[in-house]
């Protein structure tokens, strides 16, 4: 176990180095000279040279790369170019609102997805199953933008059931008042793909021998599905949930933008709009780290779910 973790972390290093190199090349080489963005329209040569010196871009590329790596390791990406706020502070304060929306959303989505997938798998092949699958395909093909625009307009603006947008101070107020509609919309958007995916996981299992054995020894269909099949279908489901968590942190950017939630996703959009490279660089690197760590956690959870899995 311990040796496994050490080896996996060791294997992450080349990937991590690649991510750092990729981000570095994108922003320091393809992105052009940031001094011209920062200095504004009325820049003189002296001001530009000064900014270049402050940012370290007047140094050689290997030196710049070294500065970048040092920034990653020390969590100190300097100041945001747009607002002058420390980048580490931006990330720390934006994480809370993002998680306030994401954790309930993920939990609800997974539970509802599993329940519906098992329910649909009960009647697999029937007209109901086919109708649900077609409804899912149609639901998935409507742009998330349309869901957000229409539901925000209908439920919040017209009917006044929820605040149109905003964010408060306390967790309770945020969760129950401001995050409610974004979570609801997130569910409406994500339930169709989730259901389709989980249904395929469940259907992969129902043809297995152990299911026939369970039925043969006289267990009810309900127990077969909820205990025997679910336990085995849980492995791909857990993989899916864990693997999509870091991406979801960014993926909710449309919800955060529309509802004025000060989260990570909205910060990325703002940073892209304002060419605020330090913020994008920092978020990209740390989200990549999070993705790798979550992949490792997923592997560790496999063993908890299925004792046959050997961590080699």
């Amino acid at each position: 176990m311990g040796a496994f973790v050490v080896r996996r972390v060791w294997q992450m290093l080349p990937t991590m180095l690649g991510v750092v190199l990729l981000v570095f090349m994108l922003f320091n080489w393809v992105g052009g000279d940031p001094a011209y963005i920062l200095a504004g329209k009325m820049a003189n040569a002296e001001a530009i040279a000064n900014i270049r010196h402050q940012l370290g871009v007047d140094q050689s590329y290997p030196m710049q790369l070294w500065i970048f790596i040092r920034q990653i390791v020390t969590f100190d990406f300097g100041l945001s170019w747009a607002t002058g706020e420390p980048v580490s502070h931006i990330i720390a304060t934006r994480l809370g609102p993002s998680l306030t929306v994401l954790i309930p959303l993920t939990v609800l989505e997974t539970l509802i997805g599993i329940a519906l997938a098992l329910a649909v798998a009960f009647v697999r092949g029937s007209p109901t199953d086919r109708a649900v699958m077609i409804a899912c395909t149609v639901g998935m093909s409507i742009s998330i933008l349309v869901y957000i625009i229409v539901l925000q307009y209908g439920l919040a603006y017209k009917m006044g059931l929820f605040p149109v947008q905003g964010w408060g101070q306390g967790l309770r107020e945020n969760l129950l008042r401001y995050a409610a509609l974004p979570i609801l919309i997130g569910l409406a958007v994500s339930i169709a793909p989730t259901l389709r995916l989980y249904r395929s996981f469940v259907l992969d299992e129902v043809g297995q021998d152990y299911v026939r054995t369970a039925r043969a020894k006289g267990l009810g269909e309900r127990r077969v599905m909820w205990v025997h099949v679910l336990r085995n279908a849980a492995i791909p489901i857990v993989t899916h949930v864990m693997a999509s968590l870091p991406a979801l942190l960014i993926g909710a950017f449309l919800l955060e933008r529309f509802f004025g939630i000060p989260g990570i996703g909205r910060e990325v959009i703002l940073a892209v709009e304002r060419s605020d490279f330090p913020v994008i660089k920092a978020i990209t690197v740390y989200v990549a780290v999070a993705t790798m760590v979550f992949n490792l956690l997923t592997d560790l959870m496999y063993q908890a779910l299925d004792p046959r899995v050997k961590l080699a």
């Binding site: 690649g18 052009g32 149609v138 093909s141 742009s143 933008l145 625009i149 991406a247 790798m292």
Partner: protein, 343 residues
């Protein structure tokens, strides 16, 4: 094809797949819808239809014909009051130029008498009175072209990388796998936004590049697995025996046998990229000003909806949902038809 003389016409993979597809009514219907969209795209790109979408044919925010002109959301269709000619400012150094410009404008207005703007349009008008139906067709052209081109680029990169990686194995495989692990460590949304932030300039070619360069990982993984499976097969050994070069074995012998994987990946990516283009253009990182796409239409529609003008939103949403639904159903059917083992 010597086998043909012995056993009658052999049914190849594609013939069999086509037969299976023909038997599937949902697939044929969605194929028809997709074909209709592509036909519309061809007509619009060649300028046969919707070339004049920028004509301001209706009043601003003209409501759809079936709703009627008197709907609450519609702008009052009063013509702008003719501005009384302002007296010349004696201190204006540009007075002469302005007088000349005014004369020019007046001449143009006389030459082309303003066509009566219609109070309603078949499916309404936007802020400038453009016909929504034509605008949706034109917007669809942009969105579909971006989706197709970006998917072709992504599958092209993925196929070449996957072929090299799977065929050669060893160090080549390690290097491409390293690439793959880097690109999959960064969530694609973040990757797309980061590249958009760096590339600054907006344009159709830019979006195609962004989506294509970030989306190759899926096809790469599958094509690589296929090449690993195929490179030891007898027909490849036979090709080797007759002295076929590596390049020929990779792309003339093996590729036709794995091309169905590439095709399914292509259609999956087209759907994903059309959706991605809509979101990018909506956020303003996509198509440039002056080019219409479904995303830029949704962007305008967002503000119009608050004023009760729902037609642009509805038109773009329905057109997109219809295409994406048909395309997804077709993709599912295509996968089932080409790979009957997986069900």
């Amino acid at each position: 094809m010597t086998a043909a003389t012995l056993t009658g016409p052999p049914a190849g993979l594609w013939t069999l797949a086509w037969r299976r597809l023909r038997a599937d009514r949902v697939a044929m219907l969605s194929l028809a819808v997709v074909a209709a969209f592509l036909l519309m795209l061809a007509l619009s790109a060649s300028g046969v239809v919707a070339a004049d979408w920028e004509d301001e044919v209706g009043v601003n925010y003209a409501p759809p014909g079936f709703v009627g002109a008197g709907v609450a959301g519609a702008a009052p269709s009063v013509a702008l009051p003719e501005q009384a000619a302002l007296p010349d400012n004696p201190f204006d150094p540009l007075a002469d130029d302005i007088r000349a410009l005014k004369a020019q404008l007046a001449a143009r207005a006389d030459a082309a008498p303003a066509r009566a703007r219609r109070a309603t349009l078949p499916f309404g008008g936007d802020k400038w009175g453009h016909d929504i139906i034509k605008k949706t067709i034109k917007g669809g052209e942009t969105s579909i072209v971006v989706g197709l081109a970006a998917a072709a680029l992504a599958v092209g990169i993925g196929t070449v990388f996957g072929a090299l990686s799977g065929y050669w194995g060893g160090v080549v495989d390690d290097v491409f796998n390293w690439f793959y692990s880097i690109f999959t460590a960064i969530p694609s949304v973040l990757m797309i936004l980061a590249v958009a932030a760096v590339l600054q300039q907006r344009g159709v070619a830019t979006i195609v590049l962004i989506l294509g360069l970030t989306g190759w990982t899926g096809p790469y993984r599958l094509i690589r697995a296929e090449y690993i499976k195929h490179k030891g097969r007898e027909y490849v050994l036979a090709a080797d025996a007759i002295g076929a070069s590596h390049w020929r074995k990779m792309f003339s012998h093996i590729f036709p046998n794995v091309s169905h994987v590439a095709l399914v990946q292509l259609s999956i990516l087209v759907v994903g990229f059309i959706k991605a283009e809509v979101i990018l253009s909506f956020l303003g990182f996509g198509v440039p000003v002056g080019v219409v796409s479904w995303g830029s239409m949704l962007n305008e529609a967002q503000n119009e909806l608050i004023l009760g003008r729902w037609w642009q939103l509805t038109a773009a949403a329905i057109a997109m949902a219809l295409l994406v639904t048909a395309f997804s159903l077709l993709t599912d059917a295509l996968r089932d038809a080409l790979d009957p083992k997986v069900k």
